[in-house]
């Protein structure tokens, strides 16, 4: 029976990056939660704050330039932001794991893949004997669809898709409860992407894991996610379940814009309906609703006041227009 309590809750997270020239407001009050054995899709374009969110959860923000200015992150009753570095290290890789976008640079070119998986295991289960360790490594390699005889090979001997499987193997070595996948298939061909996404779905079921799938591709979201959060200029402008997003047609204007920008292979539309303008400058964000300069339905209030989140059941939208929609408050 699935537990009702969420596995991870992020509340009002506020993160900035400071440099000599400017302050980048990366996250401006991000809140969401994810349950057990659930996949949350975190959607957004460049600079929206997706990777920053992931790094904040794991305590991996760049030391001098990244600062968490406010908010809470609660993982299974543990307040992550209050943990020491040593305590976080016990969680990273063991209870929460992360995989990054580019498999080319995620792997150490001078260690065999077997050694790299072993390293992940060793850090968290140093009690295992050498034999047990090897057995577990073989088990994991097979789990991601690579023959265990390849454990002695080096990353460069694997293709892009296989490398990403190795990265996944390392991340899953200690059977984490939460996997954060940051654009895991963006660098892969579409047929390989299908293979890898399928595999991730199977593993998620088998290991009873939750997953945060960070992506800009709404197609991947539709295929893999139970809940979706849309990130824009460091805020979650829309949150909902798969049904709320793909069956219900009411969306935040930005989300509508995203849907309108994607060429749909099943539609006959001649022209796409892109969002006007360019992405906001994170060092100089607009006042009021951060999307207002690009919104086709902007009103006066949008320029002055940043909207609160309006909910209807599982669906939440940060938009003044929704005040006039029944059921949203």
């Amino acid at each position: 029976m699935k537990e009702k309590r969420p596995l991870l809750t992020v509340s009002d997270l506020n993160v900035v990056y400071t440099s000599a020239n400017a302050v980048v407001h990366a996250l401006n009050g991000v809140s969401f939660s994810i349950g057990r054995q659930e996949t949350l899709g975190l959607v957004g374009e460049t600079g929206a704050g997706k990777t920053t969110t992931a790094l904040s959860i794991l305590g991996l923000l760049p030391e001098h330039t990244g600062q968490i200015r406010g908010g809470k992150i609660v993982f299974d009753d543990l307040s992550l932001l209050e943990l020491s570095d040593v305590e976080m290290q016990a969680i990273r890789g063991k209870r929460i794991s992360m995989i990054f976008q580019d498999p080319m640079t995620s792997l150490n070119p001078v260690m065999t893949i077997g050694e790299q998986i072993e390293e992940a295991l060793y850090l968290h289960h140093s009690g295992l004997t050498a034999d047990k360790l090897k057995a577990r490594v073989n088990e994991i390699i097979e789990l991601v669809g690579i023959g265990s005889e390849r454990r002695h090979e080096y990353p460069h001997q694997f293709s892009g898709g296989m490398k990403q499987r190795v990265v996944i193997a390392i991340a899953l070595a200690c059977s984490p409860e939460l996997l954060i996948a940051d654009e895991p298939t963006t660098a892969l061909d579409v047929t390989i992407q299908a293979q890898v996404l399928n595999m991730m779905e199977e593993l998620k079921q088998r290991l009873e894991m939750s997953m945060i799938m960070i992506t800009h591709d709404l197609g991947i979201v539709a295929k893999t996610c139970d809940t979706v959060a849309v990130l824009y200029a460091g805020e979650i402008v829309e949150f909902g379940t798969f049904n709320d997003f793909f069956i219900n047609k009411l969306h935040h204007p930005y989300t509508n814009g995203l849907f309108g920008s994607i060429p749909d292979i099943y539609s006959e539309e001649e022209r796409l309906h892109p969002i006007e303008g360019i992405l906001p400058d994170p060092t100089d964000l607009p006042g009021g609703c951060k999307f207002h300069p690009r919104c086709p339905r902007v009103r006066d209030i949008c320029r002055r006041q940043n909207p609160e989140s309006l909910r209807s059941g599982s669906h939440a939208v940060k938009c003044h227009l929704f005040k006039e929609v029944k059921g949203y408050e």
């Binding site: 047929t191 992407q193 996404l197 197609g219 920008s261 060429p263």
Partner: protein, 318 residues
């Protein structure tokens, strides 16, 4: 019936890697592109689409076969004729960050092809022309004095487009021109491509790995796999009725952003690409094909017509 502006006949581009190893990047590709249309060239890594684009343009010397531009075989052109071709065929690159010179102003980048090909000699007229070009691609004229690092990726790509258009070419090879852009910007640029085509009667060879984009913008689509063109059909026909097993797998692998995503199960092809170096005869997809049979490994199949302008190279469709 519009005229054929570009045709390739058995086009080959091989790279000698030394020690007898030859990389068959483009292998016996025959395509026909009519004026005013868009030929989408689609495929995954290693299929040779990028090499095809550059070879067709003359940036890479071909190894065999013919490239007929408006009826003339460009593979036999002299240096001077090649130079003249630059005014007729142009290219737009994928990466807006590395395809324009970071040390040159926008104005200079766009003006260079005009200067070098001696299209407009008068400085003042040239300046007017550059600003007009910028307007036509959606760039504010005030950005003419800006430098690449001061503007975003979407605008930089517009600069690349303006540059390609400056010589008023008839045919443009677009090499993954929107792949490096964010989704919302991609849509703007795709619309721009389509508008420009309508306004100027341009012909595109649109190279991409993104099937949704290619369906939207192409009149006809050619599917490439390891250097060979394995299927060719009008865009909507290809998606409605894909014949080659690879094409089918490719299309079913696209994650669709709608509720339909959960309903259909993708046909997952197993395995990895085989090597394009010294390939064995026969269909190159054979090792991964769920319908493989003995006949597949014997010899290279040519594209066979299935009617409706639909061509496919597969034993299942003889």
């Amino acid at each position: 019936m519009s005229e054929v502006i570009l045709e390739t006949r058995g086009l080959k581009k091989y790279f000698e890697l030394g020690k007898g190893a030859t990389l068959h990047a483009v292998d016996d590709v025959s395509l026909v592109v009519k004026k005013g249309t868009t030929l989408g060239v689609v495929g995954e890594s290693g299929c040779g689409k990028t090499t095809l684009g550059r070879t067709v343009l003359g940036l890479l010397p071909s190894t065999g076969g013919q490239i007929l531009f408006r009826g003339q075989d460009t593979t036999k052109f002299t240096g001077r004729q090649q130079q003249a071709l630059r005014k007729e065929m142009q290219i737009i690159f994928q990466d807006p960050y590395s395809s324009i010179n970071p040390r040159h102003s926008i104005r200079r980048t766009i003006a260079e092809p005009i200067k070098v090909n001696r299209i407009i000699r008068d400085g003042k007229k040239r300046e007017e022309y550059v600003l007009e070009l910028m307007r036509s691609v959606g760039l504010e004229p005030r950005l003419a004095s800006s430098y690449p690092h001061e503007i975003d990726g979407g605008r930089r790509q517009r600069v690349g487009i303006a540059r390609a258009l400056s010589v008023e070419p008839q045919f443009i090879v677009c090499d993954e021109p929107v792949s490096a852009l964010d989704v919302s910007i991609q849509a703007q640029i795709i619309n721009l491509f389509m508008d420009l085509q309508e306004e100027r009667g341009l012909t595109y060879m649109f190279i991409t790995h993104d099937l949704s984009v290619v369906r939207h913008i192409s009149t006809e689509i050619a599917v490439m796999y390891l250097g060979q063109c394995i299927e060719r059909a009008p865009a909507k026909e290809l998606f409605k009725n894909p014949l080659h097993p690879y094409t089918k797998a490719l299309i079913s692998a696209i994650p669709v952003p709608s509720a339909m995503a959960r309903k259909k199960r993708a046909e997952i092809i197993k395995g990895e690409l085989t090597s394009p170096i010294n390939p064995k005869p026969g269909c190159r997809f054979a090792s991964r094909c769920p319908y493989v049979s003995e006949g597949c490994k014997k010899e290279n199949l040519p594209l066979a017509s299935m009617g409706n302008d639909h061509y496919v190279a597969c034993v299942l469709h003889r």
